[in-house]
Symmetry: C2
Amino acid sequence: MLPNEYSHTEQNYIKAIYHLSRNEDGTAYTQQLASALSTTPASASDMVKKLSEKGLVSHIPYRGAKLNKRGEKTALYIIRRHRLWELFLTEVLKFRWDEVHPMAEELEHVSSDLLLDRIDKYLNYPRFDPHGDPIPDAQGKITETNFTRLGTLDKNQSGTISGVEEHSAEFLQYLQEAGMVLGCQIKIVNRYDFDKSFDVLINGKKSLHISSQVAMNILIKK
Amino acid sequence: MLPNEYSHTEQNYIKAIYHLSRNEDGTAYTQQLASALSTTPASASDMVKKLSEKGLVSHIPYRGAKLNKRGEKTALYIIRRHRLWELFLTEVLKFRWDEVHPMAEELEHVSSDLLLDRIDKYLNYPRFDPHGDPIPDAQGKITETNFTRLGTLDKNQSGTISGVEEHSAEFLQYLQEAGMVLGCQIKIVNRYDFDKSFDVLINGKKSLHISSQVAMNILIKK
DNA sequence: ATTGTTTTTTAGACAAGCCTAAACTTTATT
DNA sequence: AATAAAGTTTAGGCTTGTCTAAAAAACAAT
C-alpha cells in the first residue's frame, strides 16, 4: 500500500539501512552500507543524502544513517514483499529455505499490490517466513517474538527451533543436513565451557555436537 | 538460458519489435515502437540504433527495424517468461485472463532460470498461455497452430475457441461475461452479409449475436 | 595536543534512458 | 517536377546511479 514511488535502488538502500541499523546504536554506517550493496562508500554516502532529502532517512554527516518513521514504514513494506515471496517459493514451488533468498530479492520489486495480496491470502496471511523471520502485515505491523539464542541455554534446557540469525545458504544447508530445521525440538545434553560448544538432542532422537558459532545463530522458543 | 545481459528497457524494446514485426512486411516502424512503449520517436530511434549495434536488430535508417536470429531468440525467451507467468497466475493464484498481463509484464523481468524452470515443471511444461498464445519451450521453439478467425467461418461451421487476437482487458472481460472462453464449442447459426455480424451458439446451449469485430478477434480450431 | 589513520563526504565524470527541437528522408499531392 | 506533409534521425540536455580522486572530519595513539 506504499512505495512504487521509489526506485529499485532506493528500495535496496532503504532495506539495507533497516537491517544494518538493528544493532546497539540503531545506526547504519556508510561503509557497511556500501559493503552490503556491493558499491563504494562514495555512492552510499550520496544515496543516503538523497534519501535524507526525500524525508525517509535521518542523517547526521559522519554519524551514520537511521530510518525515520516514514522510512521504516517503507522498509517494512519491502520486507513484507520479500518474506511473502520467500514463503510462497517454499510452500508452493517447494524450494529449500537456502534457495529462496536471491529469487525473493528480485520478486520483492514486483509492484502489484493485487498480486501481493493474493499471495498473502493464498498462504492464509502467514506471520513468519521460512527462516522464522516475521512477515509484516499490510499495515506494517510485525508479530513480536522473544526467541532465545540456542547458545545461551544451559544444560538440560530445551525448546523449539524457531528461526536463524545467520541467513547464508551455506549455514542453512548445514542445518538442513544436520536435521535442524524450523519446528524441531532441541535439548541441551551437555555444554562445554572451554569452547562454548554443545551436545544437543534433536527431536529426542539424533544427538549432535555443534559449535558455539552455530549455537548462537539458532533461535529457540522455550 | 539466454538474456540477463539486456536491461529491462532493452528487453521491452526487443519484445515490442517482435510483436510489431508480425505483419505483412515483417518490420517494426519507429512510430509504432514509440507508441507501443509510450515514449517518443526520437527515443525509439535511439534504442533501435543501439540494439542494432549490439547485433540483435537489423535496421536500415528510415526503413524500420527487424530482429535478426539472435534478436528473435532473445524475444522468444522473454515471451516464454511472460506467458509462463501468465499461466501460473491463472492456474495457481486463480486470476482471470483479463487481469494477468500487467503483472506478467513485471514478472517476465525476473531473471532466475531456476525459478522459471520450476514454474514450467509445476505447470507440466504447458504449450499455451491463458489466451491461447503458444509458450516457447526452453529452446525457443513454439508449437505451430493453424487457428481460423471466427469471422471467416460460414454458416453451420463450428469449432473450439482456442485463442484471441485482441488482448485488451475490456475485450477479454466481454468474452468472459458472454461465456466465450477458451475451450468452448462455438457454432455459426447465421451470418449477416451487410455488417458481417453473426449469430452463434455456445456449447450447444447459449445463442448470441456478435459483431464482425468481435468475430475477427476470436481464434477457432475447427 | 599533535600526528597519523580511518572513515565519510564532496567534486567531477560517465553511461543509460529519456526528453525537446531541429534537421533530414521519404511519401503524398498538385 | 516541385512542394507539402509525414515520419525518422540527430543534436543537445536532463536525471539517476555509478565510479575515482581528493578533501574533510573523526578517531586513535603516542
